[in-house]
């Protein structure tokens, strides 16, 4: 029953699978144009909602596939990795991440793709990320209590938190995503109309 344990596929199993998944991941990111900070940052100026569309489509696609597979009994949910919930550090980190994303123009994955297509800003961003991680290691000690304990709920899924069944949470997520797509496209059209209305010298 899935998930399979690639670590048992010989010594080369896990590396090969991981590299292969990484290749597909990087390929699709680049295809979407996410190797370009201009395209990524456009999300935050409302004219191009691609980041929203790609991210949430990916999430609901994977979610539906996962939960249908689990529903049929072909995959053991209990053996799937669920990121533990740390509300304090998660939200704080997310806000800072968002700022860094806007300032730098990338997230780690897309910066790697940018760097791979020989873009200097991607390279500088990745170097920055490495530096930031290094600094974190040496500066986190005084914040350790916050980092480890603030809002630490362990494994907490949306359906456990909302006390609903898993498919109900899936349906809510899907509906929310569809709503965001519709809303996002409306915003895109509005921005387009506004830009078209500008008188250009």
């Amino acid at each position: 029953m899935a998930p399979f344990d690639v670590t048992t596929w010989g010594g080369w199993g896990e590396p090969v699978v991981s590299i292969a998944l990484g290749i597909l991941f990087g390929f699709v990111l680049e295809r979407a144009g996410f190797g370009s900070a201009k395209k990524l940052s456009a999300q935050f100026y409302l004219g191009d909602m691609s980041v929203l569309k790609v991210m949430f489509t990916a999430i609901i696609t994977a979610m539906l596939l996962i939960y249908w597979t689990v529903g049929f009994g072909w995959m053991d949910f209990e053996r799937l990795w669920v990121n533990p919930t740390y509300l304090g550090s998660g939200v704080a980190g997310g806000l800072l991440f968002g700022v860094g994303f806007l300032v730098g123009g990338y997230c780690p994955g897309t910066a790697l793709v940018s760097m791979a297509t020989l873009k200097l800003d991607g390279l500088f961003f990745v170097v920055g990320v490495l530096g930031g991680i290094g600094i974190f290691g040496f500066t986190i000690a005084p914040l350790d209590n916050f980092w480890t304990h603030s809002g630490a709920y362990g494994t907490l899924t949306l359906f456990d938190w909302l006390r609903v069944s898993p498919p109900t949470a899936v349906a809510l997520a899907v509906l929310m995503a569809l709503g965001m797509f519709a809303g996002g496209e409306a915003v895109e059209r509005w921005i387009e109309r506004r830009n078209a209305g500008e008188v250009k010298p």
Binding site: R79, G109, T155, A173
Partner: protein, 172 residues
């Protein structure tokens, strides 16, 4: 710098494909994708060669690669290498491969690179605080319905929109 922007694939299509890759990852390995974790291991490995004492005595690095631990022998590291390859292949095929710098119309190359570095540092620091980035937390954690991951995801969008207007000279 050729960008062939008209050759970007439809974002929804990319989303479905990405979701498929994400699902494949869960199916075959039990976990999702990631990026920042691989980079964190890279940093730890580098530190280990120049200052092993610092790695062993600093809890964060020690956890990743202290003592006998094989820091780089981890799926995240291999996956990051794969991302580089996949990105390069796609760029090559689409004619988007080549030296250049993506930047807003009002920003010089030098300023862009500086902000890329600074933004990267902030992102790097915060990914460790939040225990993941948009790949590991938002995409993977989001798909599996982890509450913390969804909170992180909304915080990311919030943070970005919050500073978009003040920093508009970077991109407009």
């Amino acid at each position: 710098m050729k960008q062939n922007e008209d050759r970007f694939w439809n974002p929804y299509l990319c989303g479905v494909l990405l979701g498929g890759v994400l699902y494949l990852s869960f199916l075959v390995t039990g976990h999702g994708l990631g990026a920042s974790g691989g980079l964190a291991r890279g940093v730890t490995a580098a530190l280990k060669t120049v200052a092993p004492g610092a790695v062993n005595s600093t809890a964060f690095f020690a956890g990743l690669g202290g003592g006998d631990k094989a820091v780089l022998s981890h799926w995240l590291v291999w996956e990051v290498l794969g991302v580089l390859v996949g990105g390069a292949i796609s760029g090559l095929l689409a004619g988007r491969f080549g030296l250049g710098t993506h930047r807003g119309p009002r920003l010089s190359v030098r300023k862009r690179l500086l902000f890329a570095l600074l933004g990267g540092m902030l992102v790097g620091w915060s990914t460790q605080l939040s225990r993941g980035c948009t790949s590991g937390q938002a995409l993977s954690g989001g798909a599996i319905l982890s509450a913390g991951s969804w909170a992180f995801m909304f915080a990311v969008f919030g943070g970005g929109y919050l500073v978009a207007y003040p920093f508009r000279k970077l991109w407009r």
